[in-house]
């Protein structure tokens, strides 16, 4: 299981990428589950997955059972989806909870704030308390969570710095986009299946080097030389473009975010927020991508597009939204063959992690360095 990471953190001109085992070895995958995904702030769902008070969404992050709830004060809470009594899964399917969360096994019942409300027959039939059991000490295990750009992030192991501290650099960089976001049911979300390790999708997203070859149509509107690398050690990396052109429908364009700086009128940025969330911001919309690892070589890519104004989700804009949806779906789908091709390539036992382009691969090198550092953290 030990892999040699000594060359990963060398300067980019001398470094090698992560060894093959980080993509194909089950033991490494299990280790990375803990040290990359559970120990950091991982994206698990979108805010609108639980849109109404009482909505409860069960999901799991590589086996860890989570329950995402929007409580009656409209706050999102995340719990370990496990009853404190016999370890039964509390909620199996997405539903709206009108009152308490009742365990289907012995009906221990929890309030949406996680407190244990009732323990029926715990002292014998018809006796709902027992001197040896203190309900106050049996709350649902709360999982730290934070909502940013429409994504619900969790830190399962409770070991990370606060989200705002970990991601202060990006939040500051993109503070102008930290505003209400608008999404609708039609042409806002899609999901792609990737037969690859989730990290390859991160690596591909954060660099622009491949654009002329994999996305030639993008290169027409935003050439390779219009792009720049973005690297923040231990937080994120990506690429920016000085040349974002709004799509239009007979002169109609999406409504912009309010009070944006001039640079955003033609600029766009695409950043991988480590470990598993990909984000793109533009003057009029953003998109958020959650990479959900399913196994070492299979990943679900959930994409959602958010607009800057409620006007942009009106019926009048439906054609434009459809065009935008199809555009991003097409672009992100074009990447599938490369991430899957790189996954297959990791079985070439003489591949040494690869050498980087010192000019173009900085964002990928940055991500690999972050991965390597998590092992020593």
């Amino acid at each position: 299981m030990c892999s040699d990471l000594s060359k990963v953190n060398l300067p980019i001109s001398k470094a090698n990428g992560l060894p093959n085992s980080h993509y194909i070895d089950e033991q490494v995958f299990q280790k990375e589950k803990e040290c990359l995904l559970y120990d950091n702030w991982s994206g698990v769902a979108f805010e609108h997955d639980v849109v109404n008070p009482g909505d409860a969404l069960p999901l799991n992050l590589l086996g860890f059972p989570l329950l995402i709830v929007r409580d009656y004060t409209n706050q999102i809470c995340v719990y370990q989806n496990v009853c404190r009594h016999r370890g039964m899964i509390l909620v199996e399917e997405k539903k709206n909870i009108r009152g308490t969360i009742r365990c289907p096994y012995h009906s221990w019942s929890y309030n949406l704030d996680g407190s244990l409300r009732a323990t029926p027959h715990i002292g014998g039939p018809g006796y709902n308390h027992h001197k040896d059991l203190n309900k106050k000490s049996l709350r649902l295990k709360k999982i730290r969570s934070y909502v940013y750009l429409g994504v619900i992030f969790v830190n399962i192991s409770d070991s990370a710095e606060p989200f705002e501290k970990t991601n202060c650099s990006l939040m500051s960089r993109w503070s102008e986009f930290n505003k209400p976001l608008f999404s609708c049911k039609n042409y806002s979300s899609f999901q792609l299946e990737l037969k690859c390790n989730w990290k390859l999708a991160v690596e591909n997203f954060c660099e622009s080097y491949h654009l002329p070859w994999v996305h030639p149509e993008l290169n027409v509107v935003s050439k390779l030389e219009d792009h720049y690398n973005i690297e923040s050690k231990d937080q994120f990396s990506g690429q920016g473009s000085y040349h974002y052109t709004q799509i239009s429908d007979n002169g109609r364009v999406f409504v912009d975010f309010e009070n944006l700086s001039e640079s955003w009128k033609t600029g766009a940025e695409y950043i991988a927020l480590y470990p598993n969330v990909l984000l793109g911001v533009h003057r009029d919309h953003i998109f958020s991508v959650i990479l959900q690892p399913i196994s070492k070589d299979f990943t679900l890519e959930r994409v959602n597009i958010f607009y800057a104004s409620s006007r942009s989700i009106n019926k009048d804009y439906s054609k434009l939204r459809e065009d935008n949806f199809l555009f991003w779906k097409s672009v992100l789908s074009e990447d599938i063959f490369v991430v899957e091709g790189m996954q297959k390539g990791r079985y070439g036992k003489f591949f040494d992690g690869g050498r980087f382009s010192p000019a173009m691969d900085g964002p990928t090198h940055n991500f690999h360095g972050w991965v390597a550092n998590q092992y020593s953290a």
């Binding site: 909870i97 009108r98 009152g99 308490t100 009742r102 009906s107 019942s109 409300r117 009732a118 029926p120 027959h121 039939p125 018809g126 006796y127 709902n128 308390h129």
Partner: protein, 81 residues
């Protein structure tokens, strides 16, 4: 137990089953509460508080206001804290 009483119990149980099948928790609560009150009337306290407990749990799950009322009954009988 008389035939009439057995038939009545079967009918109650069938109502309860149907209410569960329809996921009509409001009706489930109503049936358990009715059973509990009847048990109390018959002097069968243990059955009564068992049924009040059942009613209480489903009332809580469904967010029904009647849960407060049932809670008070259980509390008074020292079956809840």
């Amino acid at each position: 137990m008389g035939i009439k009483k057995i038939n009545s119990l079967e009918s109650e149980n069938s109502k309860l089953q149907n209410a569960f099948l329809k996921n009509d928790l409001s009706l489930v609560v109503e049936i358990y509460t009715k059973k509990a009150k009847l048990d109390l009337k018959m002097g069968n306290k243990e059955n009564a508080y068992f049924n009040f407990t059942q009613a209480y749990i489903f009332a809580l799950e469904d967010g029904l206001e009647v849960s407060d009322e049932i809670y008070k009954i259980l509390l008074k009988a020292k079956r809840e804290i």
